[in-house]
């Protein structure tokens, strides 16, 4: 019952967001929402404004106008720190790791565990890191090597672990599988499904149509900074989505494949 109620209230609503750099309109009056246990694909060309929109949500950028509502409250994120306090975590395309530091230091960067005297508690961080990273990848070793010496998959595991370890409610994943091999990609897909089961809402930026249709409940397509369509994945085909991405509109004479599901965002079964 409670779960049902919470599913009807969005985790986050971004309302009429606008962001421009000089004369360039990166994001023009875009509104999107996300429900608990839902994966929403954010699609578009490079430069369509999707990464920019997500950076606004993660606090890495501030919008010129527009509102962000989380639960019943209007929020204003001036830094990633602010967003994090509200349970918004992001995994960036560039992974955002400090190459010279080891895995535990990266995992806890910006929120280090400390002893009673305020010193870094490296032993505890190492233990925790081992526990968390092994849950994601039982073969994870080299916990005390600089992360520059780790494989792409291991680095991705650290980036994901950092996002989900600290009480995440809303997760932004920017191309989480772009640098990974098939086995690691499957691992990330499993992880996304697991997080969805736990009621976490996920914005997934991806260029991989297979991933999008496999993992997402809904899609939002951006084109030149505008939101040109928000659909349930069951309503659309890959060709429809490609048309939206490239032309910014649906093919002529398009009709939803399954109109009923459109009324119930977030109520999709797993």
């Amino acid at each position: 019952m409670n779960a049902q109620v919470s599913k009807l209230q969005p985790l986050v609503e971004m309302i009429d967001i606008q962001k421009s750099f000089g004369g360039v309109h990166a994001v023009e009056h875009v509104s999107v929402d996300l429900f608990p246990g839902e994966v929403v694909g954010v699609l578009g060309h490079n430069g369509a404004g999707k990464s920019c929109l997500m950076r606004i949500l993660s606090g890495a950028m501030t919008p010129n106008t527009g509102r962000i509502r989380i639960g019943d409250e209007d929020v204003r994120f001036l830094s990633p720190q602010d967003a994090r306090r509200k349970g918004v975590e992001a995994i960036y395309q560039t992974l955002a790791l400090a190459d010279h530091l080891d895995a535990p230091s990266n995992l806890f960067l910006g929120r280090e565990l400390k002893t009673r005297w305020g010193n870094l508690d490296d032993r505890k961080m190492l233990e925790e890191a081992r526990r968390i990273l092994h849950r994601l990848n039982p073969n994870f070793k080299n916990l005390s090597d600089p992360v520059s010496q780790l494989s792409g998959g291991q680095r991705q595991v650290i980036a994901i672990a950092r996002a989900i370890y600290f009480n995440v409610k809303i997760l932004i994943m920017d191309e989480p599988t772009a640098a990974l091999g098939p086995a690691e990609t499957a691992m990330v897909a499993d992880l996304i499904r697991q997080l969805r089961r736990e009621g976490i809402g996920i914005f997934l930026i991806s260029h991989d149509m297979h991933d999008v249709f496999d993992l997402c409940d809904r899609i939002v397509v951006m084109n030149r900074g505008r939101n040109v369509g928000a659909y349930h994945v069951k309503e659309v085909t890959k060709d429809d989505v490609l048309s939206l991405i490239i032309k910014g509109e649906m093919p002529d004479g398009w009709r939803p494949r399954d109109a009923a599901s459109r009324l119930q965002p977030g109520l999709d079964s797993n």
Partner: protein, 340 residues
């Protein structure tokens, strides 16, 4: 030579050594080779008295080098430390000359150093000017102020108390000589050397065990990643530059105290020795890499080289050539190793 030694050590020990530890080992090995070489050339080199002289001479470069390490690890540089050293020393000298008690006057000197560092930090983080240019400006300004406030003349006759920090020593043992006059049995450990040790331990602790230290490494390693992880990058850099300035101020009062004269012309090109010490010790000008212990080894390599070459009667010009060569070789050896 030292690379071979590293490989040998690594193989003998039979376990993996991190490249950081490897660099430190090779630097340490180089230091011991130098000491052995100079001792072979001149027996007096290994005497207690000369050892303490090296300690004393190295303490100023060591203090500057520790500060330099902090900003180099953030991915920056501080070209102003030599001038800030002069400004801090002259401010302390003027203050004492004006009748302010010595400890307070010296504290003012350190404060002026910290202030210069704070200006560097603000120019770099708020005005978004690259560290090289920002601290180049401060180098000129601090030197100019030091010369202006003293009329470019040294301030002497500062009193015995002013000289104690630079010339005093701990555990000095004086006995009675056969002729009935006092005789120095052990000259004591100079205060500047003790100060250097305390500062080195404190800064090393901060870098390793405090979150500000971790943030300094993270900022230099990947500034954007650090920012996205919630590290206050600007604050971290600001703190690093303030500490570097304060350490330059401390080095300034140590040096002026040793001379018992406030010299506005002191410390010219000291920033380059400090950078050399950090780089020889394994710090990377790209940021993210560097340790206090490495820089200390680097500072002592420079100190021992200077002292040994002086004792061997090598001219100051040749010394510059040799130290320049050592800097290039240290970085080259490090690059060879990381390419491996």
């Amino acid at each position: 030579m030292s690379v071979e030694a590293d490989r040998l050590v690594g193989r003998l020990a039979g376990f993996k050594i991190s490249s950081d530890a490897l660099h430190k080992l090779s630097a340490l090995f180089t230091l011991f080779m130098l000491v052995a070489l100079f001792a072979f050339g001149n027996a007096a080199f290994l005497s207690v008295g000369n050892g303490l002289t090296v300690l004393l001479q190295t303490s100023v470069i060591g203090l500057l080098g520790i500060g330099m390490t902090l900003v180099i690890v953030t991915g920056g540089i501080d070209l102003s430390v030599g001038s800030v050293l002069a400004l801090s020393g002259t401010v302390a000298g003027l203050a004492v000359k004006a009748g302010i008690p010595v400890p307070l006057g010296m504290a003012m000197g350190i404060g002026v150093g910290a202030l210069c560092g704070a200006v560097n930090g603000i120019v770099i983080t708020k005005m978004r000017i690259t560290p090289f240019v920002a601290t180049l400006g401060m180098m000129l300004m601090a030197r100019g102020i030091a010369l202006q406030i003293t009329g470019a003349a040294p301030i002497s006759q500062l009193g015995e108390a002013f000289g104690r920090l630079g010339n005093g020593s701990l555990f000095r043992v004086i006995g009675m000589g056969a002729n009935g006059l006092p005789k120095v049995i052990f000259p004591g450990i100079p205060y500047p050397a003790i100060l250097l040790l305390v500062v080195a331990v404190a800064v090393a602790f901060m870098l390793r065990r405090r979150s500000i230290g971790r943030h300094i490494y993270a900022t230099g390693s990947n500034e954007e990643a650090a920012r996205l992880s919630g590290v206050e990058v600007d604050r971290t850099k600001f703190v690093a530059y303030v500490m570097t300035g304060a350490l330059a101020g401390l080095a300034g009062i140590v040096l002026m105290s040793r001379l018992v004269t406030a010299q506005p012309n002191e410390g010219v090109m000291y920033e380059l020795d400090a950078i050399a010490a950090a780089v020889i010790g394994g710090a990377s000008l790209m940021g993210g890499v560097g340790t206090v212990s490495g820089t200390m080894i680097g500072a002592f390599i420079i100190g021992v080289l200077r002292n040994g070459l002086n004792m061997a009667g090598v001219s100051a010009f040749i010394q510059q050539i040799i130290i320049g060569f050592v800097v290039i070789m240290a970085v080259y050896v490090d690059q060879l190793r990381s390419r491996r």
